[in-house]
Chain length 387, copies 2
């Protein structure tokens, strides 16, 4: 405890500055400028996620998919690279006088050198795409969905570890509530008689679950870290390299499969239609949007955004197709809404604000004293540590 | 905003004193002395609620009950009156020298006059006992159980209205979470195929629901109000009158039924066994314990206590009888535990404490100034409104 030099009240010392510079810089940026961007991001995400089931429905031929699921990931990455290139071209055409072109060789080389870290999330995402298929061999889809919810907590733990981000107890509780809320909502989609549903008990299953939950979480958090740590890089440069690496890793996998299974798997456009192309574009747009989330907002907001999208889709399908809202849906979204309010409310940040409030007050008094020439202890004050 | 006379920082003015005196007095009392009593109350409640299903099981003859359900309420009230009389006798035997006997005519008349308000909750409880039977004609037991959960919110609203009790947004959210948590847990006990369970839509049903939820909530809150507003009355006096009125109202109902259905319903002991007598004693003890809850703690703690009891019963039956814990139970109690932490945590009271903290600081500085004779502005300070 430090004593205030003004009114002699005890004040807690400032928290040690262990928060990563990348995150700190970002936080100031968000709170001052980007509230509006957050709303746009969430709205865009909801729209894209909302269209997904319609496009999936349109892509089905005779109740199934004709295309190879492995090719889809590659095509999505390529679509994202094309988008990044188009945006870079657009930026270089409309650049202001004196502004450096993002497409100049020197700029690209510099950006490539700075953003080499993006290869890590790109590799993790590529691994995750294959893990998804493996998981479905061990668990039924409802269980996979349920286990996916654990990602919220794993992401928070990783954010704490990698990004040195701090969460209040209330925010941890809010994240637990988010996890519970989503799970309640999903309980209705479980098959009948599965209400006494338990987690799988096989030892192997635990290991697979751990990997299945950790890899994509690690990918998101590393992505956030890589994008934010090079905050001055253009996001289109960053997208270009992130998705370039992604396309590369997916292409390597396709090559690998071609070696084992024969060259037929190289025909990546086989079985695709206009609808599947739209689905790929939708997925690519979701991917690009999430890079904006990671750079200008954060992984947690992305998770909440997906949940809001689920809620809107549920309500919209109830209104449009006359489905009844189940009690699980109502209870689940109530928990999620409370969780969201608690996570983002000022309650959860009270301690931080209170502390910085104290400091501001003392600072302003100190600066007042400095201005006041007749103040006798001026030198004393500047020698004292600030409260 | 008021400016502090010491350091010129802006401070919010004190909240208007609209909180009922009865509640205020109680709150100070609880926070200083009765934390331990709260633990005892909750533990006792859990024990009694835990024994209930065992006694119900023992009371059954050929899978049903032989006694008239109307007689049970009367016998429970009589048991509680007997307990109050025994406690009064015990107190008057062991009273210290100079202490007034609680059984003297003057003390009883005085207490009766002061606690006449207890007739209101007694009447409401009696009405509620009959409503319970009527409700079961309109709804199935699972629905009744589900609707009962709404009481938590109704009680909070009534506490706000009648007791002028203040809840923070976080506490409202915690109460909503309690409601949701209990509901999630109960979803598993719904009959199969009822997962798309909706609320009953008949207009009459809404009215019955409103009455079914409001009457017992009103009874509890009025009870808390009546017990606390005469805080200096002995709780044994208050119990005597509360349950005396209760016995009277129930007896009037039995008389009324006897007039319509013939004198056989006057035989209130018909069909009772030792086990049913134990069940009656258990219920009476629960009733007496709740009067301690209402006087020394509050209705909300009573609600949380019942929920803790449900959780313990669930876990105990899983451990003792090898039941598997359902995912609904796990999700439900997680929500309830988070709710409990949020309701009683310091987070939810931050605003109040912060404010009173400021005042304490300023007060101590002021008192320091008053002691300091050389302080020049002493009269100014006493003329200024306190920060």
């Amino acid at each position: 405890m430090i004593e205030c030099s003004v009114c002699h009240s005890k004040i807690e010392p400032p928290a040690s500055k262990s928060i990563s510079r990348a995150y700190d810089k970002h936080r100031t940026f968000v709170s001052s400028k980007n509230r509006f961007l957050n709303v746009i991001l969430v709205a865009g995400d909801c729209l894209l996620v909302g269209f997904q089931p319609i496009l999936v429905y349109m892509s089905k031929v005779d109740g199934g998919f004709k295309y190879s699921p492995i090719s889809v990931n590659f095509l999505i990455e390529v679509a994202k690279v094309i988008f990044a290139v188009v945006m870079l071209l657009f930026q270089s055409r409309h650049k202001k006088v004196g502004e450096k072109s993002l497409l100049s060789v020197s700029a690209l080389v510099q950006a490539a050198r700075n953003n080499v870290l993006l290869a890590v999330p790109a590799l993790l995402y590529a691994i995750n795409n294959y893990l998804k298929f493996i998981m479905q061999l061990y668990f039924n889809p409802a269980t996979v969905k349920m286990l996916s919810n654990l990602k919220v907590l794993v992401i928070a733990i990783l954010l704490k570890m990698i990004m040195k981000r701090k969460f209040s107890i209330l925010q941890w509780e809010a994240l637990a509530l988010l996890l519970i809320g989503i799970s309640i909502n999903q309980l209705r989609s479980l098959p009948e008689g599965a209400s006494s549903f338990g987690l799988p008990v096989a030892t192997g299953a635990y290991l697979y679950t751990l990997i299945f939950v950790t890899v994509p979480s690690l990918a998101s958090v590393f992505n956030e870290y890589a994008l934010k740590s090079q905050f001055e890089s253009s996001i289109y440069h960053q997208n270009l390299f992130l998705y370039g690496y992604g396309a590369m890793f997916n292409f390597l996998a396709i090559l690998g499969i071609a070696i084992f299974k024969g060259p037929s798997s190289l025909d990546i456009l086989q079985g695709h239609s206009k609808a599947t192309m739209l689905l790929i574009c939708n997925n690519a747009a979701q991917g690009i949007l999430s890079s904006f989330f990671f750079k200008y907002a954060d992984t947690i907001l992305k998770k909440y955004s997906s949940t809001i999208a689920t809620i809107f889709t549920g309500i919209a399908s109830a209104v449009l197709f006359g489905h009844t809202l189940t009690i699980n849906f109502v209870l689940g979204i109530s928990v999620v809404i409370i969780s969201m309010h608690q996570f983002f409310s000022s309650y959860s940040k009270v301690k931080d604000e209170q502390r910085s409030g104290n400091f501001k007050m003392v600072e302003s008094i100190d600066s007042q004293r400095s201005r006041d020439a007749s103040f006798p202890n001026k030198t004393d004050v500047s020698e004292n540590p600030p409260c």
